[in-house]
Amino acid sequence: MSIELRNVSKKFGGVTAVNNVNFSVKEGELVALLGPSGGGKTTVLRMISGLEMPSEGDIFIRGERVNDISVQKRNIGFVFQSYALFKNMTVFKNIAFGLKIKKWAKNDIHDRVHELLHLLGLEGLDKRYPHQLSGGQRQRVAIARALASKPSVLLLDEPFGAVDAKIRQELRDWLVTLHNDLNVTTLFVTHDQEEAMEVSNRIVIFSRGNLEQIGSPREVYEEPNNEFVARFVGVLNVLELTVQGGLARFGELEFPALDRPDGSKMRIGFRPFAVQISSDTSAYRCRAVLRHTFFLGVMLRLELELPSGLVIRSRMTKEEYSALVLKDGQEVSFIIKRYRILRGEGEPLSPEIHSGDTAFSTHGAGI
């Protein structure tokens, strides 16, 4: 294990920022700490680095307990959200700083800095000052500085937060390539689920100081532990149903309610992809009006207005869309193919329930 947290908590005054967190990261992994702002993910990163001390619990780096080891001695590379480049030093001196502190020989420093400049595509910029660089270049200098003395782990706090949206994509791809080349254990903090899904091998999801789920991007998307994760990773449509006669209903929609009492409420959630649409209004039992179609490149997002006025979102590929011949304002019929029963924010979800191909067979849906 490269990094391991055991029962780690952090309190600021009376406020619990991180609550009894356990997880571990394997050597060479690229892991995202994902969550809304204020969720405690940056605090976790700072505790791993030694910039913050845990109130309780232990932190291990490469099997060694590091609670009592100062930030200077932990041999980590930390990339700040603001990059925190030394404004009074050139790019070369910024990258060389840690090596000088560790008393590397002058020639070795020179070679290592130039190796990093080459690796990060910063050749020719070594004599510039931070204010003479673009945002993307500043970020790469910060990463080079953190990598210079070959840290055992690389920690990045919102690495793409301060760069323009249009170059963020390119930098993401580049970080993945860099990680593949160097194979250094990397943890980065982000609040952008798309970024986490795209870049990382595994995602650790935080909310209000609690660790909600760890898993591969596919796992957290397809098998969310609870409603928070399901809502935070990807889009989730939520319906509140009323149970009557063993069926939970919402307008024309009906779902098996098992043995819930009449009049009780039941909430279900489903992904946009689980909504199957037909332009033939009699193909499925439920009807809706197609309000808006959004073209997102190869994908399309459709907003359906149910008779009750509620709007649900659907997604499909361009091919599926062309086959359907749809236009905005048209009446369609639809079915929800897969859904889960929600039991409140922190509670576990039901397993995914598959409806049949038509609404008429929902009664027989397997659980």
């Binding site: 600021f12 005054g13 920022a17 030694g50 910039l51 913050e52 930030v71």
Partner: protein, 274 residues
């Protein structure tokens, strides 16, 4: 994020400890020492020493001249700040830099050159003397010196506030049909007033303690043109320590009251921000 209990940066104990030690040695202990000595004097004696006729005349001059000087500074300081922020004219940069001149010029030099300028045969005094105005070596001289030393305060307090005044607000007033004069009276002036009063108070506080520039130009005649700080020195030279300390404590207490007032004024002035 909430208050940081742990801070990875080192040196907190060392720097705070040194700060408190040095502050105590240089500032707090000497001030406390003065007060403790004054407490050894009985209240009746203190009152008698602090309110001799000569002392009362000195307070009157000090506070009166400081008040007039601060008023002059409020008026001209406001005009200067307005002109420097809003208009473009030749030599503006130079004028702006020159505003800080009274801060930088040693007070003795200020007093020397002002007394020379306003003396009956000086560059400016020669025009005032025929009018029967005795500018130097008179209470008027005290006002002149105090106006000089207090000048930067009003300008430098008003300037940033004027700069941050949103032009859109004035433009909004104009689109609603307000005349320029109306806009100034009902929108600009009320916004600037607390800051102007703060600047006034700063200039006033500075003037009360001022010594160097005044003694050159005042003439220093007892009961007429003798300021309170000068009387402290005279008492000290007469080896009347109690008299000197009583006057000093009066000035000190007034300074502290003004300091608190200015702090409150600054809070009041920033009440429209955020």
């Amino acid at each position: 994020m909430a208050e940081k209990k742990f801070n990875v940066l080192p040196g907190f104990g060392l720097t705070l400890g040194y700060t408190l030690f040095y502050l105590s040695v240089v500032v707090l202990i000497p001030i406390a020492g003065l007060f403790l000595r004054v407490f050894e004097i009985s209240w009746a004696d203190f009152w008698r020493l602090a309110t001799t006729p000569r002392a009362l005349a000195a307070y009157k001059l000090t506070f009166g001249a400081s008040f007039i000087a601060a008023c002059i500074n409020a008026v001209f300081g406001a005009i200067l700040a307005w002109v420097l922020v809003r208009y473009h004219f030749p030599m503006k940069r130079f004028m702006d830099a020159l505003i800080d001149f009274p801060f930088a010029l040693p007070t003795a030099v200020a007093g020397l050159t002002l007394s020379n300028l306003f003396a009956a045969n000086g560059w400016l005094g020669q025009y005032l003397a025929p009018l029967g105005i005795k500018a130097a070596f008179s209470p008027l001289g005290v006002v002149i010196a105090l106006t000089f030393v207090g000048m930067p305060f009003v300008v430098r307090t008003l300037q940033p506030v004027l700069e941050n005044l949103e032009r859109e607000i004035e433009e909004a007033a104009a689109t609603l049909g307000a005349s320029r004069f109306r806009t100034f009276c009902s929108i600009i002036a009320p916004t600037l007033l607390p800051t102007l009063i703060t600047g006034f108070a700063l200039a006033f506080a500075r003037a009360i303690g001022e010594y160097g520039s005044v003694i050159f130009i005042a003439g220093n005649i007892p009961n007429q043109s003798e300021i309170a700080p000068l009387l402290i020195i005279i008492r000290l030279e007469e080896y009347d320590y109690s008299g000197a300390m009583a006057l000093a404590v009066v000035l000190l207490v007034i300074s502290f009251v003004l300091l608190i007032t200015i702090n409150l004024l600054e809070r009041w002035a920033s009440r429209y921000q955020h």
